[in-house]
């Protein structure tokens, strides 16, 4: 039994909430968008970026929507001229120490910071000051780190510690010099990192990107095909990013019922086999010790005739099939049907038992 016992108003719309909800969650439920940079529903509320500030009647200063719990009779305004001005300034402060090289940045088109700058009509020209100049880091096969693009929202370090509990990265240093990094700035290896890419999946800027997908195309050029992972039996969903006729990247499906955007090293980075040159591309028929290429018609004709011959000669009980836990439900059903109908035996099994 859920207790919707708190009544609040958001932009004049009345809504009922539960007592442990935040303003951000309540707004989302009724379709009111509040911009955020440091928020990810997989993480505990953080209140770091302050972009989600809203006005609450009777409170003299704006409050962050992501960490403020709702209270009865709260009247909330999520956007007005004052809030817009404050948010614009916050973004300008972030941009004051940002390379602003969107034209060649891997994240362009899929970057929260870029989109919010566009939405609030700001660039990096207002504040001048010291800027980071730290080289790009590609010390491992999967994750590229461009510290200069980091806005210190803490999402990468929080997902690494809160969700994965891998402890690979943490905010290091103080003040202007603080940045997410590994212990002792060591390169990422299996000794300190799982290479799950969860940090990449939550980064709102171009600071962390999938190295294997870099330069392979802009987010908006990709056909994104939602599918289910083919490794273990957990059933994670993700998007295959297709450009032309190639799968070039895997990205998170944050609405997936099982994994909520989370993936492991195999799900996120184990896709290159799809286009590997060693794929078997045509049917092959054994001739002595070697295999020769054949057409589908030739090969299937041979297989059908040979099976028919064996069934006639030895009976259907001497022929069978192994189905596969790697194949789809429909294919498993068909193989079982093939053995029972076309062969005529019950000699069908799948690899679940081995």
């Amino acid at each position: 039994m859920s207790e919707h016992n708190i009544k609040i108003t958001i932009n004049g719309i009345e809504t009922l909430c539960q007592k442990d909800e935040t303003i951000l969650q309540a707004a989302k439920k009724i379709g009111v968008r509040i911009p955020t940079l440091c928020n990810d529903k997989r993480l505990e509320p953080y209140g770091g970026c302050r972009l989600c500030i809203v006005e609450v009647k009777g409170v003299p200063r704006p409050l962050p929507a992501c960490t403020t719990p709702v209270a009865d009779k709260m009247e909330i305004i999520t956007e007005n001229d004052n809030i817009r001005k404050l948010r614009a300034s916050l973004i300008e402060l972030l941009l004051s120490n940002h390379p602003n090289d969107c034209m060649r940045c891997e994240r362009t088109g899929d970057c929260k910071l870029q989109n919010l700058s566009y939405e609030y009509g700001v660039d990096g020209s207002r504040f001048e000051g010291e800027m980071w100049d730290i080289p790009i880091r590609e010390d491992n096969p999967f994750i590229t780190y461009e510290p200069n693009k980091c806005i210190l929202c803490g999402r990468c370090t929080r997902i690494c510690n809160e969700v994965v509990m891998a402890g690979t990265i943490e905010l290091t240093g103080r003040g202007f010099n603080s940045m997410p990094d590994t212990a002792f700035r060591k390169p990422r290896t299996l000794d300190n990192c799982e290479f799950c890419g969860q940090c990449v999946s939550t980064c709102p800027t171009g600071a962390l990107t999938d190295r294997k997908g870099r330069g392979k195309g802009r987010s908006y050029e990709m056909k994104k095909v939602k599918t289910t992972c083919s490794y273990c039996g957990t059933g994670c969903n993700f998007y295959l990013n297709v450009k032309g006729d190639k799968v070039v990247k895997v990205t998170s499906d944050y609405d997936a019922p099982v994994n909520h955007g989370n993936l492991c090293i195999k799900g996120r980075y184990g896709y290159d086999f799809i286009h590997h040159p060693e794929r078997i591309k045509t049917p092959l028929i054994r001739k002595g010790d070697t295999f020769v290429e054949a057409s589908w018609d030739e090969a299937l004709g041979l297989v059908a005739n040979k099976f028919k011959e064996l069934i006639e000669k030895h009976g259907p009980e001497k022929v069978g099939g192994f189905s596969s836990s790697r194949c789809t439900n429909e294919e498993n059903y068909l193989l079982a049907k093939w053995v029972r109908c076309a062969v005529g035996s019950n000699n069908v099994d799948n690899c679940a038992r081995v």
Binding site: F195, T227, T234, Y271, I280, F291, F322, S323, N329, N346
Partner: protein, 515 residues
């Protein structure tokens, strides 16, 4: 108090996303009991680590039940209302007093008592188990012993309780659901049941044999004896992933006609007479059913590399053999499944377009089922039955010549025979080769240093691998994966199987390690 009981499962390696749920529960204060011979990530963080000897699952579980009953910690109401056969169980577990169980399992009495307390006293408790339970010659009985424990405490049929069997492969659940099993038609409808046969005979227009067929392992046995003539192997690599590979190789060499469909050449395709190219998951439409019975869409992103996906190939082959199969799209196959398989009765592609549905889903307006057994168990009468079980141990136990127990399993980075992960950029760079995990005590005794090449031998074969000295292995146990074709660990594993399911004993065989 909520308790997680993880048994024979190493989810941070084998099911990383499932492990995220467990980690979240731990952060929220759930108690954790881990039963595993290896000191896994979860075992290190457990409130109680039951470090049992491989093969002693039943002894441990009987011991836990005995402690619960002796202390009156059982759920009497649940036992009375929803179960049968309790008296036999009680009598049987009496034989498993703490002294005996400690001796059989190697787990201290204190830990057994504390684990029993944490599990039985929990408001909500869930058992999550993996192949450490099933891949033994007593695998089925191990799973029954797990069920005994859950039933005694009544931790079933409510959200956040029950027994979760983690599925090793993407579609183990679906492959079992949909009929490629010798004794059951799709939807676990027995071939021995005339009513079930009649339904399928009417729909398929053929006569179905009323006797169960052969299991895969039995077909291979018959091949070796020269009694089996033709096999179609779809997307499976028994010559690397089955145990006792010498036996498998001999079987595949003996069969008169072998067709293998796969996406890469494998150890098994070497024996084929015809190899058919398979389509990867990115090249076809279909569905997979995950470990929580959720039927989810698989979508075609690119064209099949060979022009056809498996469902098309099987249809064409069947038609050529005189049994017509004619489908334009896998959704039509799912519609046929829904009409014949009650648990999938309400599943159709339009309903699972956005989000998968958990079976049983009998009708088009049924929302699916998240929690099983809320009021009845799936037995005649609806009561769960306790099973009185005896400890048997492993088929092969260490001796003077082969003094160590080999446990096989997975690491996070690779998958099964490695045909996919070893061909994915980066993954093979970070984990390029097989490593034998060995405890520092055993390594010291054998004068093995981290990184040394060692010879691992069993009665059947020997392989050479690099050693990794780690406290993840307890003294007496070593660990190998089965991901690497260059070091086939299944040459070592034994021929012992669960007589009920045919599942091989991958989790325990006797080996010797030498420098």
């Amino acid at each position: 108090m909520d308790t997680l009981f993880l048994f024979g499962s190493n989810p941070t390696e084998a099911h990383p996303i499932v492990s995220l749920y467990l980690k979240k529960a731990l952060r929220k204060g759930a108690k954790l009991v881990v039963g595993d011979p290896r000191k896994t990530w979860m075992a290190k963080r457990a409130d109680v680590w039951l470090n049992l000897k491989p093969g002693s699952n039943i002894a441990l579980l009987n011991g836990l039940v005995n402690v619960i009953l002796q202390n009156g910690w059982e759920n009497k109401e649940f036992i009375a209302k929803r179960t049968e056969g309790f008296d036999e169980l009680r009598e049987k577990v009496k034989e498993y007093d703490l002294d005996r169980v400690e001796k059989l399992t190697g787990v201290s009495k204190e830990n057994i008592i504390e684990a029993a307390r944490l599990y039985s006293h929990a408001d909500k408790a869930m058992i999550v188990y993996g192949l450490g339970v099933t891949e033994h010659q007593t695998g089925t009985e191990n799973a029954m012993a797990v069920a005994n424990l859950a039933l005694v405490c009544g931790h079933l049929g409510r959200p956040s309780t029950g027994i979760m069997a983690l599925r090793g492969q993407n579609n183990v659940q679906g492959a079992s659901d949909l009929g490629p099993l010798p004794a059951t038609l799709p939807g676990y409808q027995p071939v021995t049941d005339p009513k079930s046969r009649e339904k399928f005979e009417k729909a398929w227009g053929v006569k179905i044999k009323d006797k169960p067929g052969l299991k895969s392992v039995e077909m291979l046995d018959e091949c070796k004896r020269g009694n089996f003539k033709g096999i179609f192997i779809l997307g499976e690599d028994p010559a690397q992933t089955d145990p006792d590979i010498h036996h498998v190789r001999a079987a595949l060499e003996s069969v008169e006609f072998l067709v293998v469909q796969d996406i890469f050449h494998t150890e098994t395709t070497r024996f084929a007479h015809v190899i058919l190219p398979g389509a990867s998951f990115a090249e076809k439409n279909g569905t997979f059913t995950n470990g929580e019975r959720r039927v989810q869409r698989v979508r075609k992103a690119v064209e099949p590399v060979s022009g056809m996906a498996e469902w098309q190939v099987i249809s064409k082959l069947s038609t050529l053999m005189g049994y017509k199969m004619d489908y334009n799209h896998p959704s039509e196959i799912m519609d046929e499944i829904a009409s014949l398989v009650p648990i999938y009765g309400g599943i159709s592609y339009d309903r699972i377009e956005k989000q998968g549905i958990q079976w049983p889903c009998p009708t088009k307006d049924h929302p699916g089922t998240t929690t099983l057994y809320t009021d009845l168990f799936s037995r005649p009468g609806g009561l769960a039955r306790f099973m009185a079980l005896d400890h048997k141990g492993s088929g092969e136990v260490p001796d003077k010549e082969y003094p160590l127990v080999l446990i096989t399993g997975r690491v996070r980075e690779h998958y099964n025979n490695g045909s996919m992960t070893k061909r994915s950029a980066g993954i093979n760079d970070v984990v390029p080769e097989e490593l034998l995990e060995i405890s520092s005590e055993d390594a010291q005794k054998l004068k093995i240093k981290n990184g040394d090449m060692v010879k691992v031998s069993s009665k059947r074969a020997e392989i050479k691998v690099r050693a990794k000295v780690t406290d993840r292995s307890q003294s007496g146990n070593v660990f190998l994966t089965f991901h690497h074709r260059e070091a086939l660990s299944n040459l070592l594993t034994s021929e012992h199987r669960d007589p009920i399911t045919g599942t091989p004993e991958y989790k325990s065989c006797a080996v010797r390690v030498e420098k």
